[in-house]
Symmetry: D2
Subunit: 323 residues, 4 copies
Amino acid sequence: MKTIAVLTSGGDAPGMNACIRSVVRGAIYHNLNIYGIIRGYKGVIEGDMIKMESRSVSNIIQQGGTILKSARSDEFRTKIGRQKAYEQMKKHGIEGLVVIGGNGSFTGAEIFYKEYGIPTIGVPGTIDNDLYGTDYTIGFDTAVNTALDAVDKIRDTADSHDRVFFVEVMGRDSGYIAIQTGIGGGAEIVMVPENPDSIEGVIESLRSGRNNQKSSSIVIVAEGEEVGNAHYVAIKAKEKLTNMDIRVTNLGHIQRGGAPTAMDRILGSRLGLAAVEGLIAGRKNEMVGIVDDKVVYTTFQDAINKKKPLNKDLIKMVNILSI
Amino acid sequence: MKTIAVLTSGGDAPGMNACIRSVVRGAIYHNLNIYGIIRGYKGVIEGDMIKMESRSVSNIIQQGGTILKSARSDEFRTKIGRQKAYEQMKKHGIEGLVVIGGNGSFTGAEIFYKEYGIPTIGVPGTIDNDLYGTDYTIGFDTAVNTALDAVDKIRDTADSHDRVFFVEVMGRDSGYIAIQTGIGGGAEIVMVPENPDSIEGVIESLRSGRNNQKSSSIVIVAEGEEVGNAHYVAIKAKEKLTNMDIRVTNLGHIQRGGAPTAMDRILGSRLGLAAVEGLIAGRKNEMVGIVDDKVVYTTFQDAINKKKPLNKDLIKMVNILSI
Amino acid sequence: MKTIAVLTSGGDAPGMNACIRSVVRGAIYHNLNIYGIIRGYKGVIEGDMIKMESRSVSNIIQQGGTILKSARSDEFRTKIGRQKAYEQMKKHGIEGLVVIGGNGSFTGAEIFYKEYGIPTIGVPGTIDNDLYGTDYTIGFDTAVNTALDAVDKIRDTADSHDRVFFVEVMGRDSGYIAIQTGIGGGAEIVMVPENPDSIEGVIESLRSGRNNQKSSSIVIVAEGEEVGNAHYVAIKAKEKLTNMDIRVTNLGHIQRGGAPTAMDRILGSRLGLAAVEGLIAGRKNEMVGIVDDKVVYTTFQDAINKKKPLNKDLIKMVNILSI
Amino acid sequence: MKTIAVLTSGGDAPGMNACIRSVVRGAIYHNLNIYGIIRGYKGVIEGDMIKMESRSVSNIIQQGGTILKSARSDEFRTKIGRQKAYEQMKKHGIEGLVVIGGNGSFTGAEIFYKEYGIPTIGVPGTIDNDLYGTDYTIGFDTAVNTALDAVDKIRDTADSHDRVFFVEVMGRDSGYIAIQTGIGGGAEIVMVPENPDSIEGVIESLRSGRNNQKSSSIVIVAEGEEVGNAHYVAIKAKEKLTNMDIRVTNLGHIQRGGAPTAMDRILGSRLGLAAVEGLIAGRKNEMVGIVDDKVVYTTFQDAINKKKPLNKDLIKMVNILSI
């Protein structure tokens, strides 16, 4: 193996740049040529890629987002798109690929391998932490700390006005961000898809909290339909709890950006290096992760299909700590 | 004058605690007794107040919100409510009042004075900075920096995905937060009530920016009806700019909380002390402010009715800096 | 068991308050009385303790430091001091103790148990992360992120002036803070006690980095004698590298304070609850920790005497990533 | 005037990049060519400069440091150095210069003008805020907020251990950073060069504070000889206050870096544009500043020689607020 490439795909996540830096410098350390592909699979198809040097990734470890940019590529889902992609890779002499992204990105890589035999190692880069095969995904810790910082601010105003706040956080199919933000933020209630509360149950909890002399409350809601929609839940709650001053806030896209935390920089750095070393060792179609502080490789099949359960102790702990 | 009291009223703002601390210690320094009234005018009516000592305000200067809490009081708008309030003040021997809040709070104080002769000094505490008689209100600088931090994060993801973001900030009737956040955040467009852009103009600017090779853009929208509603504006923009990836985020209540900036702590401290010294000097029915780094007192009439214009140079500068 | 108590001992660490909150609410949840002891073992001897209610720990989860305060107690090292302590505990009916602190605190607890049979569970609260029996100690993640934030700032000025900075971080006997700060901060060199670099080696690395077109460099130094003293190392480096602009900064006590990160709040919460449940289950003389995301209990003997090694991969990675 | 250039000189300050961006885009807006000179006057002499486009300054407004770098230039202090500088400017067709920096930088510009007639406008960029002719210098507000954030953290640990902390901040000849950090941080004492406390006075204040039931104290020290050296003062204090636990921390270089605050970004933006417009209007040998929210130009002579006094009210307020 002489030449590899790296791309970011799917939603951006803080720590992706730390990972790109590690892939680039890891490749150079192991005497490989390394290309950075711009805008994910779209850039492969269009041959939009640049040869990276050690200096190309100076001073990016602390930056949010991804210097390689990310984009959707409908074309890569077609046979003809993937053929163009292969031709570009052949043209540049690329023999291996590191894909930093999530589920969808790995699916594409696997199909591409089956058709053209280019080995890929995936790196879990998504704030949602919903990937099997790694304890944490790149960006998750930063997203939680950003959400927590917001909840701390909201708590100031909730306390000052004796209000109830419904705060919606990201994580459509997974309650990781919600549960960590909820415990860290001292929330009274956390609504996660893994443990669906009935809205009635939430209303009952708020009522008994008020009886228990709580003057303000925070409810964290993991985004989703109805019970995952903070506005919807709040409207229902207002109907029943007419004596409470109920407000809603949706943290939105701020959860995706910002300087990565130490944990995300280190995770990105470790995984980037391990991806390169995995390719060199002949691995393919696997996602690299850290489980119990050790580097592990998981087949794309498992990473995509298996479910990483939420720690039930954490869900239980919310109730104990909010008494 | 032997005994005075302090309350916070209206929306909470970072720096209010620094101001309360300064009122309390300023009063003690000048040998006055000082009461802290809980939940604004509601607390006056209910006699919910506590004698403050120097230690009562230890370690609060860095806290957002208000330790005295704030609340609406419909009862204080009635004659009978104000009579109860007066009786409580007489009972506690309170001869002067410091009210930290906004427009509505000062109106109440003025009526109360006309009826019962209790002198009040107002302190401008509101994140909106929309009060005449002071260059800055307590909480404004913190709100701007919080919004700016959010915009920095959003810029990371906007750049990574070549997106256009409409970001709604607070300031219903005033574009102060929007213009400062816009300039500080390097926004391409800032929509403020003082200088209403047509939505068509905004769309045109985004189109020409894209032609000018800008791959991402930030539009700051000061909250309001239609043109002040980021979701509404974004929907209109999407209709015309179908090739752009347009997103919306509403920063919401995080703008109210958080540890105050240096400027808000110092402003709160200066104004709190000046309010106490104003009462001692026999002032009444005035708001204390800082204009050109000097303490000034403005009648409630002027503070409430006069308009503080937005610096036109700043509006113009947005366009120059986004080329 | 009807009544237990909690104290903090040794250096304060962010997340201790989250842990105190969890001990208090965990105890109440399990129908125990709970005392908060002020100033560690000193407070036990002096009977300086207060009955805690659920509301006693409201709104502290986000605060640095410890509301129970911490202090040295030479008296507790004496037989007579411990006897007084025992009498106070008997007087208050305290049958179990949670000690949040480090090595020295656990040693005291063990002696006390041998003499008076009061069971204690220890909780690892120290920013240094140098305790066997837990992957992370409370406060470590916050300290690393604080140090990292400082290094990001220093990198701005190092780059602007083409300087070499020696940055000293905490961790007298352990390089955990240094190695994580170094990798996260993109440092060129990290000097840790576990892997002593010769000063000559450091000088050589800096020289070759400069030859390799690096215009600025960051060296992280874990505090200690000579090779752990950034000022000393810098003086030696200046003698040899006369053409470089070399500066030193010692991050000092800022590493101990500040609002805890999500990780430290969650860790503190989990460990506090597990400490209470350990006592209820009849455990004693053990430190509770989290290893591989599971609660584990380790004897004080092992926690104090066994060494938790630094991950060698991380040390190696610094060199690869700084090429 | 067809072509101008911009450079940064002296110590870097957060907001310099916002200012560079504004100079570049302001120049382009007014149809001027604009060069960015690397490493200050050194870069002029060496002809190290690049033509700037609007895109050259994208995404830098939030970055600390200076993308143009800064350096000392002993050669520019010589006649021969300045002649080389002039030749480079002639060669590039540069007819005007914007110098972002402090006192020393303006002195150089003035001499250069006298010899070669190249008009220069200076922009006050220094964290110390010690320049006459502007209410605030670029970088000051960020430095104060950084110092304040550090003091908030130190207060956590001071309170937890009942300690006295001496915290040294930057500002060799001016107490601006110290006084604002002190008031904002709730310090008990602030030692500034403008109002030299005797060390005995400081010791007396600490002793009476302790008598007055203060369990912890913060003393802010503006750097300098003896009374401006926190370590020295602390040693003296320890000799007399043997029952207090006294610690020292020097905030050091972290005060120079970091993402600029809103105020510094806006100030940098306004001053950069005004500098360009000043050159166009034929101004020279002047520093542009903002006084009472208005753009003003001050001769280099006055900016260099006149003294901007510290607001005496602030000094007095420290004592009142720490009772």
